[in-house]
């Protein structure tokens, strides 16, 4: 078995470069090493100037998403052994502006996330003395899948609609909106529907489906969006048939 494997890493220095270039590094090949281990080896032993994000190293924080051989992956969960004999090409997440090397600019995503109100909205809060908002296991089950999103943004990098139209709210933000819509404690679905029924919301999605394929947590944002479309369409028909009952 090979003792080393080549990582071809995208490098971009905003003060010097007009576009990214690739730099090859020989890193030790170990069966239990993931791509992130290779990057950490480069950072520690070969080139301390390499810039990238990472944190938990266990697929929870969602910081280390990158393109690995053209596919959006969490580098902490992508084993080098799957790419033998290499080389393994590591690039920043597609469709996002690149700040430096493998670091992307994510303000656009954070703004969109906030825009869809991903929190429990109540028309009137209960008093603390009245106790918790209780849920049955079935009510929890209704939204649990969508609550597993770790905001890693792999789905945005897999979505050509987002690449072609940066105004698109995007898969993760819509899935998280759906997570709260389906929460029995929430009363904000009308507010979210008004936001996501805009052109750049659910209707911009053409159901390519790759967002769900690349999701490391099996959230299925594509499914969330299609179900949201159904809800919005039924709501529109209902408003048309019973205008006196609309909003």
């Amino acid at each position: 078995m090979a003792e080393t494997i080549v990582l071809e890493v995208s490098r971009y220095c905003p003060e010097r470069d007009t576009e990214p270039t690739f730099q090859s590094f020989d890193v030790p090949f170990r069966k239990d090493w993931v791509v992130l281990d290779g990057l950490n080896y480069i950072k520690d032993k070969l080139d301390g100037s390499l810039s990238y994000r990472w944190s938990c190293r266990m697929g929870v924080c969602g910081s280390c998403g990158m393109m690995v051989d053209g596919e959006p992956k969490l580098t902490c969960a992508t084993f080098l052994s799957d790419y033998v004999p290499g080389p393994v090409r590591v690039e920043p997440l597609r469709y996002f502006p690149v700040v430096r090397d493998l670091v992307i600019e994510l303000t656009d995503f954070m703004r969109k996330l906030k825009h869809v109100k991903p929190w429990i909205v109540r028309e009137e809060e209960k008093l603390l003395s009245e106790g918790e908002y209780l849920q049955t296991p079935d009510e929890l089950d209704a939204y649990k899948q969508f609550s597993m999103c770790i905001n890693c943004m792999l789905c945005y990098s897999a979505c050509p609609v987002y690449g072609l139209d940066p105004h698109f709210v995007g898969p993760a933000a819509i899935a998280l909106a759906q997570r709260y819509n389906m929460d029995s404690r929430d009363e904000g679905s009308r507010q979210r529907l008004d936001i996501l029924s805009e052109h750049e919301g659910i209707w911009a999605c053409t159901f390519v489906g790759e967002c769900s394929t690349v999701c490391p947590e099996n959230v299925d944002p594509a499914g969330a969006i299609q179900r949201y479309k159904l809800t919005a369409a039924l709501d529109a028909v209902k408003s048309l048939l019973t205008p006196w009952g609309a909003k």
Partner: protein
């Protein structure tokens, strides 16, 4: 979200990659998606042919015979074959996606996606059987 995406202000030089016009050729899932979208044209073509067929039937045996003779030309046969292939592709890809787009619950429990997809195929088979039975004269 109608306003332009806002990024951190005053940053000098982020790199923004341009998206190729041929992005959809780069990966099979993207090409499959594009073909699925294009297959809508074939579906529309089939509907238009069916409408012309109905019109010819309404106008009588002579018009129907003329319509049939037009359909027997090599171009018409080739177009029909391509359209049929695309319509099949359209049907299969959408049936396979049905479970993602539609959650069915029975007595509060979610029906597995495979069952939803299988139900679509079963309905397709039954309807095709009924149409075939009707065409063969009952």
């Amino acid at each position: 979200m109608s306003e332009a995406p806002i990024y951190t202000e005053y940053h000098p030089r982020w790199y923004r990659a341009k998206i190729s016009t041929y992005w959809w050729l780069g990966r099979w899932p993207y090409l499959k998606f594009t073909l699925r979208e294009l297959s809508s044209i074939a579906v529309a073509f089939s509907v238009v042919i069916t409408l012309f067929l109905i019109r010819a039937v309404i106008r009588g045996p002579e018009a129907y015979g003329e319509f049939q003779s037009r359909l027997r030309t090599p171009w018409a046969i080739a177009a029909a074959a391509v359209a049929f292939g695309f319509v099949l592709f359209h049907t299969v890809t959408w049936f396979n996606s049905a479970a993602q787009a539609m959650v069915v619950r029975v007595k509060g429990k979610r029906v597995p996606g495979a069952v939803v997809v299988a139900a679509n195929y079963a309905a397709w088979l039954i309807l095709s059987g009924v149409v075939t039975w009707f065409l063969l004269g009952g």
